[in-house]
Subunit: 415 residues, 2 copies
């Protein structure tokens, strides 16, 4: 997985999976490093991730204005376009891999950087293995990205810190709003995270700051409606306002999602499409406590809230993109960039390391059970100590007329 030889050729950078506030910062880190690397002859951005490769839709990054490229750091979501495309096992169906190889050959692509979550690391790994099998020399690196923070082997994932900051800040603001009347009110905030509670847990940062949810439910534990009612009743008996944060992925002991009865559509990977949980729980609480309730879903806002990005997250996202290119140029392949961090005595430091793709693909990292409180309705100080450094710092916000100024790329197609 390493070579001393200089490998000359073009590179492709692709973005995949759900967008984040800082995935474009990773793209910028990778694009900038690729443009600056002598052995990289051309830098392409794949339109909508691997689909852009399959469709022969590649944008020429060399043609972009460097100032606009730099504005990618200020631009949420995936500017090159994203996809949710599950690669088949090459042993079962080689079609896609043959096509990818054809495109790689057409543009002399020798470097492939893919920025995404679990499924994207799997895509990376499969492409790399296929190239090796057919003897095509191409260095493949994964750049981590997911607000869900569930990638294996890395301290945390770019995108998480900014989403966590958005969630914590919004919970603080809602906490202030939801307690403004002297009349009783129960408020439920629904937070993303299908299987891991990293995002829902971030709501507890608001509580630690003095204005947050009374109860936080993560998908790492089984949910029980009766226990939930008991939890709420306990708070209710001491004050007439209850603020609750729930992960969209909370489920009963039999594995059924609490929100499941409401939805049936699925996304491209066969995951159940969740949502509507806040409203559903609010209805249950209304029936039980006969009071004013409100369900709030943070929805897409939590993953694209670039105006509230964490400067730490933003810098690390860019670093991850740059590190992937630098490692590949230095001869590495088949790795994902990961973070190794230290938190001691209030000090936080973060450096990149490389993990074999085969070790990270398709594993999910969940919140450790001992970071969840014994009542399963909150997180421990260990969780707070873990997450708080990741939301630190206010980035410079580039605005025009006090609204965000996003990157305007030409997106010239390669021929």
């Amino acid at each position: 997985m390493a070579s001393d030889q200089v490998l000359r050729g073009a590179c492709i950078i692709g973005q995949s999976g759900g967008p984040t506030a800082v995935i474009n910062a990773s793209a910028y880190g990778a694009i900038r490093a690729a443009l600056d690397a002598a052995c990289i002859t051309k830098t392409y951005g794949a339109a909508h991730g691997i689909k852009g490769v399959l469709d022969d839709k590649l944008y020429v990054m060399d043609a972009e204005d460097p100032k606009e490229l730099a504005l990618l750091r200020n631009t949420p979501s995936s500017e090159l376009g994203s996809c949710r495309y599950k690669m088949k096992d090459p042993d079962a169906d080689e079609t896609d891999y043959k096509r990818i190889l054809e495109i790689f050959r057409k543009y002399d692509v020798r470097y492939f950087f893919y920025n995404g979550g679990n499924d994207s690391m799997d895509t990376c790994n499969k492409i790399s293995k296929y190239c090796q099998k057919v003897g095509y020399d191409c260095r493949v690196m994964g750049i981590p990205k997911t607000i869900d923070n569930d990638l294996f082997g890395t301290d945390h994932c770019p995108g998480y810190g900014s989403a966590a900051k958005y969630i914590a800040t919004s919970c603080m603001e809602v906490s202030k709003d939801a307690t403004v009347y002297d009349t009783p009110q129960i408020t439920v905030i629904e937070i993303m995270g299908r299987h891991a509670g990293w995002l829902a847990g971030a709501a507890a940062l608001a509580t630690a700051a003095g204005a947050g949810p009374d109860l936080v439910y993560l998908p790492e534990t089984d949910f029980s409606m009766d226990r939930f009612f008991d939890d709420v009743a306990k708070i209710w008996s001491s004050k007439n306002k209850v603020l609750i944060a729930v992960s969209e992925g909370i489920h009963y002991a039999d594995g059924t999602f609490v929100s499941e009865a409401k939805t049936s559509a699925t996304d491209g990977f066969g995951h159940a499409q969740l949502g509507g949980l806040a409203v559903r729980l609010a209805e249950e609480l209304k029936n039980r406590f006969n009071t004013k309730v409100r369900g709030i879903e943070l929805s897409l806002l939590q993953r694209c809230g670039a105006h509230l990005a964490s400067a730490t997250d933003l810098a690390e996202a860019e670093l991850a993109g740059r590190a992937a290119v630098e490692a590949a140029v230095a001869g590495k392949t088949d790795f994902m960039v990961a973070f190794r961090c230290e938190r001691s005595g209030g000090r936080y430091s973060c450096q990149t390391e490389l993990l074999p793709l085969s070790e990270v693909a398709n594993y999910e990292k969940k919140v450790p059970m001992d970071w969840i409180n014994p009542a399963h309705n909150g997180v421990t100080q260990d969780f707070i100590d873990y997450a708080l450094p990741l939301i630190q710092g206010e980035p410079e916000r580039i605005v025009e007329n006090s609204l965000p100024r996003y990157a305007k790329l030409k997106k010239e197609l390669a021929k």
Copy 2:
């Protein structure tokens, strides 16, 4: 409605109605001016607006740390507590008015400042008229506040600019997120505003900035589901993504709210409690266009998003509070502070003026029909030119650990 005499006595400042990102800035402006006024002997904050007066729950503002008071500018929602309490007509039932007079006499209250929307100006007006009727000398001033921006006679209302900025910024971010895949998607964003479309119209600021909704529906015009489908189909035929912003108050020609079938609860003023419209429209669109849809409700977030406040709005909110106290001290009574603004050649200026309470109470100012486009699915440049100056400027955000640092008041009760 004016007197040259110096009136010596205590003052009460109350907050009423739905909270905003900057209502505490108005409270700060009023409290600071009252603390500094020689003729004001004591400054009280009413707990939960007029209910705090009725319940004899007044906080002593003189006892607060000035630094914490100043942090009110950084604190969303109504820090003194709010209420939705409709005062009866004093000719029908004097009970509340007698009680208020009793409290005013108990604390020698000679100044009453009430910060709220339409209903609050009505409360102000009734209290003032009652005091005059019974010969109790008290100067009463209304301080405008409402994200709905529907107060009569003033160019705009404190709270609107910050909510508009939150809405525009969030629409830009969602626009980036909702267009990230190459697969079709229709997204509906639900925005507050029962009868006036000022907030929904603010979504068009995002479009003007290059990343916003394709269609915007205001409650000033009648909604038709068939016309709505036609509007969406037109966009749909040219691109496979449609972003739609709707006011929660959109209604059919017969006056029925589009969201109405879903809800039955009412708030304290007898208004229908709305919500769930985005999800409802998303369902209709899913059935019609057979595609991926997403409904997003900005919910409470849009009115308490202090982290994204407009510096202009914040400064004007504080100014309105201060102006109310200064005018009352100078002998005025029975007025609401209003804004008179000029917008010419890209320059914006704003100054306060006083409007008789009787002229503003209970009237609603709607978006002029000629600021709505002929197709009734967007706003004109006049609207943009009106709203854009109100969202300008980034205030200094006071944070601790990168999360907002809110005012911590002692709230010592008056005895």
